[in-house]
């Protein structure tokens, strides 16, 4: 009897569609760059859509004011846009910060103020500080969200420095 229950339980847990919430497959993992002893991988964690991202040069000695390329469809107006970054290594948190990208009294980038439904392609500098990345593997969670905390983009990134 017990064995039967166990089998039934395993079957319900593993059978397709048993979770019932109809979650689609995860988005594929993309390579943002691999060069100079650095590898950056990312995966969209927005269940609604994927996005495209690349960095024009990458190395362990990350230069300041990097140029990036970024393509996405907006699901919200971005008059106000904020970026949250959470960096962890080996399961412990190293750094958390929040950065305003677009604000009503200071739209930093030319794409600020674009509207829901627009397709955005940004190729340009991001005004980051230069940094030397020590050897290791890092997990980074990046979230872009609006003033009303609606998700614009979400990325799970892995940075490997070797």
């Amino acid at each position: 009897m017990k064995a039967f229950t166990a089998v039934l339980l395993i079957w319900t847990l593993t059978s397709p569609g048993s979770s019932g919430d109809g979650r689609r497959e995860a988005w594929p993992t993309h390579l943002a760059c691999r060069e100079g002893g650095l590898e950056v991988l990312y995966q969209s964690c927005d269940p609604l859509q994927d996005f495209g991202f690349s960095m024009d040069q990458c190395s362990k000695q990350l230069k300041s004011n990097l140029n990036i390329r970024f393509g996405i469809i907006l699901r919200e107006d971005i008059k106000e846009l904020f970026l949250d970054v959470a960096l962890t290594a080996k399961g412990s948190s190293i750094l958390n910060f929040s950065y305003p990208v677009c604000e009503e009294d200071q739209p930093k980038f030319s794409f600020c103020g674009r509207r829901k439904g627009e397709q955005i392609y940004f190729a340009g500098p991001v005004n980051n500080p230069g940094i030397d990345i020590p050897k290791g593997e890092y997990q980074v969670l990046l979230e872009l969200y609006t003033g009303s905390h609606a998700t614009v983009a979400c990325a799970n990134a892995t940075i490997i420095s070797f």
Partner: protein
């Protein structure tokens, strides 16, 4: 056998039967019954049958409607707002909205439109807002002009438009907003602008268009509400093109990702030839920055120099007597005196926030600004051991002061004596050093709003809030009380006129029954994110009609004696509490269901106990703690048997006694 039977009976009597009601999964989300529906991201190919005919506001973006025509929305006659963003619409056929008289907003952003029929937009009596952003339009003739007489805003951003010349019969009379953001407009001619002649007080947006030339006189004697040339490479072109124009506000800022020429004083000469009230020059570099730079700014009322790489403003600027509002956020000042405030004697609003260096306030740097009403000095790393009378000297008309997000400030008694007319004071996230029994806010007779959230205050100082006779709104979140308790005598007793009190995230364990007794006027109390239990509700018994937030506390059981206290309030939030859904809390659970209209956050108001009901919404729990019919039947049988037994025992005893007489 006997104990078994009684256990069985007891179980029957006390059995609590519960039922969980789960609402059926609807495809669209109802935001307002029969009126507002959200059907976004569902991949729908038609309007679902479940939507009522009375729907007025429909968010239908990210679905699939390659063709829309007269039948598509024919059932929803009351539509006022229709969002069809990114529905892959190719065709809008004739008379699609024919019967939608009340439609006022139509959003078609991000659709690859191939063709719109001549009568595609006919029908709505007052179509006011039309969004055609990123629809591939390259020629303005693409837009059917019939029925646009009432149009107030037209959004045409991110298309391939190179000329803003509208067809002759385009009705621009009621147009207030015309947005050409991110197009390919390089030249503006007189003829282009003439097609907008009818419009008055128009807001025109040319942000992220690389304007290389404007025909002289194109903007001649036209009156605009606002003009936006954000990201323009060469501002001289804009200034010379805007000769003799009149506009309320002119946005000429730059961005991180745009290249532009440095601004020289001679470039700004063009401002003398036009009439502008408000100008924004964010993120520009100035090649020379002298008093001559401001020569043509004399009629200006508002100037925004956010992130303009400034180390100071030159002294001796003359004639800027009209300037009312000055924004100097995100610059590189060392000393507040470097802005030479005496240049702007009429200033009423001054914003210096997010300075890139630690800002030193100095002494009396703003003393010439006698008319200043609003001052924002937040996010500046300001540190002062004795604030703020020397620093804010002579600001006797100041009504609003923001010193939030700074380094520690030491406050003495009457720390704001120089600004006696303050109505709003924001000190959030700035550590305040106040020695007991000092009263730093003493004599702020007009102060209505005080934000002291996360100020690391010494809450045992009973005199901290003394001398605030008119205080209505106190934000005290994130401050800590000794032992997590607000005692009977506490610092809130001096602010009897309080209407809004926020004590969330204060690590509170309890509030004394008498603690809030002197606060009789309160209408909004936020006690969320503490560790309060139901006992603290007692402290609110003298208050009626409150908005009461008790979310994220440790409330498990609310005894019946406290229900009247809750009943007399107007809105209550009890979400994220470890609420008990057993029979010991049944009176509260019944009350909850009877008062659903008063309750906020019902999605997050769930049971924590018993384990079988963990996570179930309180409104879905049905508990019956009385006796069930079977219970009553068995009770009667049990009593009947008991009586028979007693009779037998009595007879036996009597017989026994008679036998032994």
């Amino acid at each position: 056998m006997a104990p078994d039977v009684s256990c069985f009976l007891l179980a029957l009597l006390c059995s609590a039967s519960f039922k969980v009601i789960t609402s059926l999964d609807q495809m669209c989300i109802e935001k307002e019954a029969n009126k507002t529906y959200n059907c976004e991201n569902l991949g729908l190919r038609e309007i679902p049958d479940t939507l009522p005919n009375t729907t007025e506001i429909l968010e239908f973006s990210f679905n699939f409607l390659p063709t829309i025509q007269i039948r598509t929305f024919s059932r929803l006659l009351n539509l006022t707002f229709l969002d069809l963003t990114r529905c892959q619409i190719n065709w809008i056929h004739e008379n699609t909205f024919q019967s939608h008289c009340q439609l006022s907003t139509l959003v078609l952003t991000g659709n690859p439109l191939i063709f719109m029929a001549e009568t595609a937009l006919n029908g709505p009596k007052t179509l006011k807002h039309l969004f055609l952003i990123q629809t591939g339009i390259s020629d303005l003739k693409f837009i059917p002009v019939h029925n646009l007489e009432n149009l107030e805003s037209l959004y045409l951003g991110s298309n391939q438009i190179s000329s803003i010349k509208f067809p002759k019969d385009f009705p621009a009379r009621n147009l207030k907003v015309l947005d050409f953001q991110n197009n390919a407009i390089h030249y503006l001619s007189r003829e282009d602008m003439n097609s907008l002649e009818q419009a008055t007080n128009l807001s025109l947006n040319f942000n992220s268009n690389d304007i290389k030339g404007i025909e002289p006189g194109a903007f001649n004697s036209t009156v605009f509400q606002s003009l936006n040339f954000g990201g323009a490479f060469n501002l001289s072109v804009i200034f010379s093109g805007l000769q003799n124009s009149t506009t309320q506000s002119l946005w000429l800022g730059s961005f991180e990702d745009t290249n532009d020429q440095d601004i020289s004083s001679s470039m700004l000469q063009g401002l003398c030839e036009m009439s502008v009230e408000s100008i924004n020059l964010q993120k520009h570099y100035f090649s020379d920055f002298t008093s001559a730079t401001f020569q043509c700014f004399t009629r200006l009322q508002e100037l925004d120099l956010t992130a303009a790489h400034l180390k100071g403003l030159p002294p001796g600027i003359e004639g800027m007597n009209l300037l009312k509002k000055l924004v100097l956020n995100v610059n590189n000042f060392d000393q507040l005196c470097q802005i030479h405030a005496a240049n702007f004697p009429s200033l009423t609003h001054l914003y210096i926030k997010g300075n890139r260096k630690r800002l030193h306030l100095g002494a009396g740097c703003l003393e010439k600004l006698e008319n200043l009403q609003k001052l924002d000095l937040s996010h500046n790393d300001i540190e002062a051991s004795d604030c703020c009378n020397l620093q804010l000297k002579n600001l006797s008309h100041l009504q609003s002061l923001n010193l939030s997000y700074n380094e520690p400030l030491g406050l003495q008694s009457q720390a704001f004596k120089e600004c006696p007319r303050l109505e709003i004071l924001d000190l959030a996230f700035t550590q305040l050093r106040v020695n007991a029994p000092r009263s730093p806010f003493q004599n702020l007779h007009f102060l209505k709003v005080l934000n002291l959230s996360h100020c690391f205050l010494d809450t045992s100082n009973q005199a901290l809030l003394a001398g605030l006779p008119d205080l209505r709104h106190l934000d005290f979140r994130g401050n800590h009380f000794q032992d997590g308790t607000i005692p009977k005598t506490n610092l809130l007793q001096t602010v009897g006129s309080l209407e809004i009190l926020i004590l969330s995230s204060c690590d509170l364990l309890s509030i004394d029954r008498q603690a809030l007794h002197s606060l009789g006027k309160m209408s909004h109390v936020d006690l969320s994110h503490n560790s309060l239990t139901c006992d603290s509700i007692d402290s609110l018994s003298h208050l009626k009609g409150l908005y009461l937030n008790l979310a994220a506390n440790s409330i498990r059981i609310i005894p019946p004696r406290l229900l009247p206290v809750l009943s007399q309030q107007s809105t209550i939030n009890l979400s994220q509490n470890p609420l008990d859904c057993t029979c010991s809390n049944v009176r509260f659970l019944t009350w909850y269901k009877e008062n659903l209209q008063k309750l906020e956050g019902s999605e997050g108001t769930v049971c924590a106990n018993p384990p079988s009901l963990r996570g179930v919404k309180l409104s879905d729990v049905e508990l019956s703690c009385g006796m069930t019919a079977t219970g009553i039947f068995f009770l009667i049988v049990f009593l009947f048997l008991l009586i028979i037994l007693l009779i037998f025992v009595a007879r036996y005893l009597l017989r026994w006694r008679y036998q032994h007489i």
